[in-house]
């Protein structure tokens, strides 16, 4: 298995457990949706995978590299995990090109330019290279956020409610596009949503989360 999550426990306060004994795995290139209502712990799960929070117990292994267990905890900036935030969090003071190039620190200037262009071509937005986030529509912002997360070639991509800021018409089109991009790049991805249709359209498998427990899994045939 490419991603192994085992017995993950987490609580913000000692009294209340947000996640309880969470275990599941992903194949390389698989897209898994975590489906649950608000407060079920799904966004917290992404924060643990990304390293923004430290689990109380359990382990996370990606591509044979232990990101955390009882002895190890790799900081978020060293995990090579890509994440698309619910509100995209595009840096408002940087244009599209600089936003996408932000995570490409170790490359030469020409390699950076090349990679940014590759990403813009992937999302079909080369003409928006110099635009600022506030000049883009919601759908365009989401695609830039995706390109920014994919640019440093992360080992795994996490998406937090990627459609919550889009209106219904746009959502249907973007869902298809998003799955297309994720499959083209063969990116192992986990996204959380509260919308069954989102999960069904994009994921290969759905993991149902309720009150911090996994209650059911469903494989989707596309």
């Amino acid at each position: 298995m490419y991603v192994r999550i085992e017995s993950l426990d987490f609580s913000y306060t000692p009294k209340e457990k947000v996640l309880n004994e969470i275990s599941f795995s992903l194949y390389e290139g698989e897209i898994v949706a975590i489906l649950g209502s608000s407060g079920s712990g799904k966004s917290t799960l992404l924060r643990l995978l990304s390293g923004l929070e430290m689990p109380d117990e359990g382990s996370i292994v990606v591509n044979e590299k232990t990101l955390c267990n009882a002895k190890t905890f790799i900081d978020c900036e060293k995990r090579a995990v890509g994440m698309v935030f619910q509100d995209y969090a595009l840096f408002p003071h940087m244009n599209v090109e600089k936003n996408i190039a932000f995570g490409l620190k170790k490359m030469t200037r020409s390699d950076k330019k090349k990679r940014v262009m590759e990403m813009l071509e992937l999302i079909n937005m080369t003409e928006k290279k110099n635009a600022y986030p506030h000049e883009l529509s919601g759908g365009q912002q989401q695609r830039i956020a995706l390109a920014r997360a994919l640019a440093p070639k992360p080992t795994i991509l996490l998406l937090d409610e990627p459609f919550s800021n889009l209106d219904t018409d746009l959502k249907t089109r973007i869902r298809r596009e998003l799955r297309g991009i994720m499959k083209t790049t063969d990116m192992t991805s986990i996204f959380v949503t509260h919308d069954y249709d989102d999960a069904r359209e994009i994921a290969d498998r759905i993991v149902y989360l309720e009150n911090g427990h996994i209650v059911h899994e469903e494989t989707i045939t596309h």
């Binding site: 390293g51 935030f85 969090a89 932000f102």
Partner: protein, 543 residues
């Protein structure tokens, strides 16, 4: 067109347009006066002194800007991003140095560090023969930074509290270390607040006359006073004022130009960055540094003033002093009420449909805060002299023995100047309160056929009450501390707390100046406490 004009003519528009006219006319007056032939004094100033004034002014505001930005940002970052003992107390304490007018801090420090001062005597008692000369450019920088940094602190603290944690988290997930994320994301996003706060500090520094006069730092406000009062040359004073106005507008223009089309806030719902506990020696070092800043900007001047007051209280506190306090309070309350009323009219006029006329009118009415007091004083004085000339036939009609200058010799001129200078402060607070409420309640009232005035009284005012009180408090504190306008425009033999402190200090009676200074600091501190602790009221819950 007539129909539209009639529809748009109401209390709000008439007051706003009148306010705009009353503010722009004196300013234009200055520009037209610049065209009058140059005087000998001006030729001398231009040939010998002007370059020095420009260089000194730029050096002073440059250094004050950099250090205030550093101190303000440091303080704001520590209290918003870290958890430590005393954090809550410090977070409002750090605003208190604003209650100490810069000129009072200057008098106190100059005296404390003089050969016979408390600090030097203390050092000599320990056999340390060190004396620090503060009465120079570096001293002025120190005084301005320590008393004005709270402007940067307040604005950056508020921006840091609203900054979305997702930006920082995203930067870290994309491989940036904490330091890299700070420099590449946190700091650039703070830019508008940092620049706005620093700009306020710069404008206050340019406005000052008390510190630079006492420390003999020859900058523009010093030069304007010098030309007007020592050389008795209004033409030179006007030309210096015009150059100073150009410098101020150039600074504001350059900032806008650099900002370009970038934005500094996203559309994301803000999720605050959680505070981290301080560990190891940092638990003591970082809060310790904040307490040092507090001591330098507030506690040390306060302690020294209390000591002076204990020596001179019985001499200074008499009926005359009570009248001084009454003068200051009446003047400040009158100016505050007028400012807040006009600001309220302007804010109401600016609601609803936007237009370039409204935009221009707002820019004009908010001009005052950007223009240093000495310049406003010159402009207002000339304007009132013109008014008196215009109204002289009327004065004669009422009283054939009437003096030529009635308005110019009255408190009306000073009050007008205060309103002109502090309108921007009042307006911004009222507008912020209206922004929080939105327009839906007002529109609902209009749809129920309620008149504009009744809607204002019954719907808007109760909703923005907290904002109005804040506006009034901020304007009041500024008016009571104000010095350059008061010195130039107050009627003969009329003193306020601020002008009496200046008078005592000029006569080297620093100990006597402590009592009025303390009253000013006490009033301002109490109001700052009230401002930072007032309940959010209705406005917090309307969205």
């Amino acid at each position: 067109m007539f129909k539209r004009l009639r529809r748009n003519t109401n209390l709000f528009s008439v007051t706003s347009i009148l306010a705009g006219l009353l503010i722009i006319i004196p300013m234009l007056n200055i520009l037209t006066e610049v065209m009058t032939p140059a005087s000998d004094a001006w030729l001398h100033i231009r040939r010998v002194l002007l370059q020095r004034y420009i260089v000194n002014t730029l050096v002073l505001i440059g250094l004050v800007a950099v250090f205030s930005a550093l101190v303000g940002l440091f303080a704001a970052y520590i209290v918003t991003r870290y958890e430590f003992k005393g954090r809550k107390l410090l977070s409002w304490f750090l605003i208190l140095p604003l209650a100490v007018p810069s000129y009072i801090a200057a008098y106190v420090y100059a005296d404390m560090l003089s050969y016979t001062g408390t600090f030097s005597r203390f050092l000599r008692a320990g056999n340390i023969g060190l004396t620090i000369d503060i009465m120079n450019m570096s001293g002025a920088v120190f005084i301005f930074v320590m008393t004005l940094f709270p402007y940067v602190y307040m604005l950056t603290r508020s921006a840091l509290q609203k900054q979305n944690a997702a930006f920082l988290e995203n930067a870290r997930l994309l491989g940036a270390s904490r330091a890299e994320a700070f420099y590449s994301v946190v700091l650039p996003l703070l830019r508008p607040a940092l620049v706005a706060g620093t700009l306020l500090v710069v404008l206050e520094t340019l406005n000052d006359y008390g510190v630079v006069a006492y420390f003999n730092v020859r900058v523009f406000s010093f030069a304007i006073f010098d030309a007007w009062f020592r050389l008795g040359d209004t033409v030179a004073a006007i030309r210096l004022s015009a150059i100073l106005m150009i410098i101020v507008f150039a600074i504001i223009f350059i900032e806008r130009l650099i900002r370009g089309k970038r934005r500094f806030s996203g559309n994301a719902k803000p999720k605050p960055v959680p505070r981290m506990p301080l560990s190891g020696p940092w638990r003591f070092i970082l809060p310790g540094l904040l307490w040092v800043i507090m001591a330098l900007g507030f506690f040390i001047p306060l302690a020294q003033l209390l000591y002076y007051a204990s020596l001179t209280f019985t001499d200074v506190f008499n009926t005359g002093f009570v009248f001084l306090v009454i003068n200051s309070l009446t003047l400040a309350i009158t100016a505050t009420l007028i400012t807040v009323f006009v600001a309220l009219m302007l804010a109401n006029y600016n609601r609803g449909r936007k237009s370039s006329f409204k935009h221009a009118l707002l820019k004009i009415t908010n001009l005052g805060y950007a223009i240093p007091g000495a310049v406003i004083a010159v402009a207002v004085m000339l304007f009132f002299i013109d008014l008196d000339h215009m109204f002289y036939p009327l004065y004669r009609l009422i009283n054939p023995e009437s003096a030529r200058l009635i308005l110019t010799a009255s408190l009306a001129m000073l009050t007008f100047a205060y309103v002109l200078r502090f309108m921007a402060i009042g307006y911004n607070s009222v507008e912020a309160a209206y922004d929080k409420v939105g327009e839906k309640f007002t529109e609902a009232a209009y749809s129920l056929k309620t008149s504009k005035l009744k809607t204002l009284l019954k719907v808007d005012l109760p909703l923005i009450k907290t904002g109005l009180i804040s506006a009034a408090i901020i304007v009041f504190i500024d008016v009571i501390k104000e010095l350059p306008l008061t010195l130039i425009l107050r009627p003969t033999n009329y003193d306020t707390l601020a002008s009496s402190v200046f008078r005592y200090a000029r006569e080297e009676m620093l100990q006597e100046s402590s009592v009025p200074a303390l009253v000013m600091i006490l009033i301002s501190s109490l109001l700052i406490f009230f401002l930072t602790h007032q309940k959010k009221g209705v406005t917090a819950n309307v969205r």
